[in-house]
Symmetry: D2
Subunit: 351 residues, 4 copies
């Protein structure tokens, strides 16, 4: 039973492969009467576009989005919004040599094990290119959030061994790695350069913050807001961990340290990450995700071929050195989709 | 739009509050013809029962489960299985003094903000007591897994500042903290004793391992197995973080370090935690959760009353010092529910 | 993939068999802060109770409902409402002779074919007794509708060959067959008496009317209000047909006859049955269901035994002569559940 | 909460308006490894294409379908199948005069009441053109059914006052009205000619038969096969009634007449329409739908304008005289979608 739909009220179904003719998303449940045009969506797509910098893929995709339905005279109508992004620079030939081999760290083998068939061209549906549809749909969700004064921002706080505790939000837009610390960003760039030369790849940590979120979102007991965010973020290919607020650090804190005291001015601290008992508390929602290093590396690795015989592989193709920073808008998109869905869900119990 | 149902094919709906007459679960989608009796379920319930040790709640609940439907002559019939556990030792009076105050770290205020009403007795639906229904349902899921030779085991690997890298699975049952390292368990006990005296509480880390899981489970792109596990585990009240395989450590690894080489004998390492591209790869599935310290502490804290005026609070009641070890079978239950659901989901595409 | 849950926002899961210890319903998604007590529910349950008249089953069930969760100090809390009705007069022995034979017109064989196992006692889950849980849950839905000035009434307009075009709503409560025409009701009673003596059974037609329903409910294109009502009503065991407004008669009308002209005073006619393009139009919603004759008859019938050998059967047990009038509150319940769900669903797109 | 998705395991989401750039369907849950090419789908689309005969719309749409994803080297991959049909002959201008008026019998007003906005061009999403996506998706479902030796055929058995009891399946393809009785078809054609001249429109009855369906499909108690079919068929715009097997006639039959006796050769009769207790019994599944006359007629009608003032309207545009026969493949599509979904759902409880 397939799983290409996200959300319950604001519901997004995505489709498309890395090397098919197009990818897209169908949004069902977007409230009617909302202004929406292409530029709203294009802006976010441009942020995740390949080919923006040194550490990244040379695949050149314009990622131009079209809206095929659900809009009338610039307003949403309440009917499904169909978004489409055509693939323009899909060079399938580049993947011919991967047809008979399973790339370590990729879903090549698991897709085959699951479906009994796989589209080997660029990872098919397992490609990070799939996230273009998430970002497009997420931009629509972001519009709904903006109308409710909710803003979602993601940023890089660690890359390989370089990390930062600084949160200068103004600096995020001033470096291509989306790091809220320009000095750390410069260190990260040096690291990227070094790792690139070695043929290896890098992971990192992205933090996502949602401000302006009203208290009351999240659905106990199984669809708590933190649970929903965890699923949303973990469903991004490269993510191997999700934490909310104090997260894994909470394991080492005492109750008296981790509890956020309530004061007339609000919560004194935000170890909860804006979520208590699975429900938003009105404070900033803060989540962090662990991003694994890109598995496609230039170094020789041990693997198996289709006949399950041991072979050596060097993955060519046009790959990034790290999922960061292109994963940053994807993380934002997943948080936007989650919050928009829960914002609309909450309306079912309000007067 | 409420969220008390978990799963798509093996679907569990739970209900009940800490101080209501009973709690329960309705399982829809359990395959017919499977042997099931009370002892299968009672065994797991006994493992999460209160009052097992020094650091724990003195509330005495027998947690005796009844099966009200879905079984005929010892076999499941394919119709809904209704499980019920009556509350026997619910002393609501003990919570009268909490009626007008919001406990820090609890959902008291967020429940009120969400629903405009709250059952203050013992946390109502937000109580950890809610997990009794998860464990009961999880025991049925575990039966399905057992028939497919899948075993799920959780264990404590950190408590406060004490942690271990040892995984002696035989030692788990030899200490009440379910730690696979008896020496670490002894250290943890000392820590519990110390923290208990101070009136404070402790968090920790629980690891869950599923062995025997076939390759192919998980539903790209939004309902990947890791995403599903993340939601499942994060939906447990005290959990603030979830990671799979190398998890947050992956952020600091190079691709060449984090990739699991394929060999004719299987994957050489298991940084993937048994999941690649959201699909199980046949290796052990390994997840870890960060458990926050119990927010109910004996120390004085700042908070607000119903009129939003600052007050001091010392939380009385009958509370545990840590969600560990009682959360251990709850973690197992959520993983069992997730895997059983995905095991049955996979059948829809198999011949 | 099982189907014991109804609704998307107001979501009901039912469980229980004819001869198990109890039956029940769990309602998830009921808005918080609504007054609800047992008498609200009991009133509807009493209307479908067995043993009310000549043509009906002698099984004596008090059908006393208990609320196990979701209510605090007389108000709904927004958490799941668990309703339970214990079976008191389940004489399983009476079904022993049916253990090895398939009753014509019943689900005995299809349940076995589907599940590979069946609970033969009184039809198990396929028993009309299952509807007790629908009626209990429907009573809660009815409360929500009442708060929105929506009233749902069902009544008998045909029984066997006796039918009526009269709609004297005041007369419905004046005869046990719930017929809005006392003369027709008297004719129906005579027919029942006659058929009862012959050992045969009767079908009929029930009409359901919902008044006060606001325009705008229903979800194009697949979950239109008429589609939702059709599923809801057809899911009642004895129902073999559902029509809305002019229904099957529309097939023989011209467009100029069937169209409802719009006037400043409202629609001139109501051939639409209150639903246009799948969305309520503010007029009365009118649906009719065809109820098949009860398959359990005293006459000898041809059938097969478990070995698929031909045998004769006379069905004993304690059966009604017709599903009417006990199906009347069940029809109301299903319409209440449908409308409450769609009323809440509509809130997701309203300001 | 929107409703543009149909099915649980074989899940179809449709999108698109009458006068937008395109319409489409995304299928999630199609089993992998199935051969699928455009001709499979185009064949069904051609059967519902406009402009096939005297009584029909002169809008000329080639209805050429493209597959944008989910297929690799001619086989389904298990990933979402995106189908698109571009609108080529959408003359929006023709609807300018309808901008300020509500057409009787159409959803013009209810869409506005629901969404607060409507796309008046050709009915927007409420247009019968929406069914092109259902037929495209239904063709994929039909492939799955064909692999399981299930065949679905719909045909016209009544048009206005002309009806037939003949079921000569060979004659269906021999007349454009898809009637299994050539003589009745000729009568219907005469009636169409007559009504066309009068500026009025016609309804009728379509029967759908599914043969080869295995016993065991359908999900008690709310998602019974008959309930699922009722929803599926009633969700087609022009349908006002659905009946299974003996349907409304069952209301007037005795139990001894309506029960289908079981014999070693199968059921002696098929009053059940192939479904008992909501589960297929292996016999032919037979459903009938009442199709209302097309509401767009050339005759003058009373209605309201946007200011709710009374006005006269004559609906121009390019309309059919009857939804029959173009609705015939749409009925087939909805039954194919329903059966394919339930066929796959049943796999979750089979070994």
């Amino acid at each position: 039973m397939a799983g290409n739909t996200f959300g319950k009220v604001f519901r997004v179904t995505t489709w498309g492969e890395s090397h098919g003719p197009a990818l897209g998303a169908v949004i069902d449940g977007c409230p009617p009467g909302m202004e929406l045009d292409l530029t709203d969506i294009q802006k976010d797509l441009d942020r995740r576009r390949p080919g923006k910098g040194g550490g990244e893929s040379p695949r050149k995709e314009p990622d131009q989005v079209d809206i095929l339905s659900g809009i009338f005279e610039g307003l949403t109508t309440g009917t499904p919004i169909s978004l489409i992004i055509y693939n323009k620079d899909a060079r399938s030939k580049a993947y011919d040599h991967l047809q008979n081999v399973f790339r370590p760290g990729h879903g090549d083998l698991t897709y085959l094990e699951k479906y009994g068939i796989r589209d080997h061209r660029g990872g098919g549906r397992a490609s990070a290119r799939e996230t273009v549809a998430r970002v497009a749909a997420g931009a629509v969700a972001r519009k709904i959030l903006a109308e409710n004064d909710i803003a979602v921002t993601a940023y890089t706080i660690a890359m390989g061994e370089v990390s930062t505790t600084k949160r200068n939000m103004a600096e995020i837009a001033q470096n291509r790695l989306c790091c809220p610390d320009l000095e750390a960003a410069a260190e990260m760039e040096k690291l990227i350069e070094k790792i690139k030369k070695s043929g290896d790849s890098l992971g990192g940590i992205v933090e996502v913050k949602a401000s302006g979120c009203p208290a009351g979102l999240g659905e106990p007991v199984f669809e708590k807001l933190d649970g929903a965010l965890a699923q949303a973020l973990m469903s991004i290919g490269a993510v191997k961990g999700v934490e909310i607020g104090s997260g894994f650090a909470a394991a080492g804190l005492l109750g008296s340290e981790n509890n956020d005291a309530l004061t007339p001015q609000g919560y004194r601290t935000n170890n909860a990450g804006g979520i208590l008992a699975g429900i938003s508390n009105g404070d900033d929602i803060v989540a962090r995700v662990a991003v694994k290093p890109i598995p496609s590396i230039g170094l020789e690795q041990d693997t198996l071929n289709l006949d399950r015989e041991p072979v050596k592989i060097k993955v060519g193709g046009r790959h990034d050195i790290s999922a960061i920073p292109r994963i940053v808008p994807v993380c934002e998109a997943m948080v936007c989709l989650t919050l928009a869905d829960h914002l609309l869900r909450q309306k079912t119990i309000e007067d």
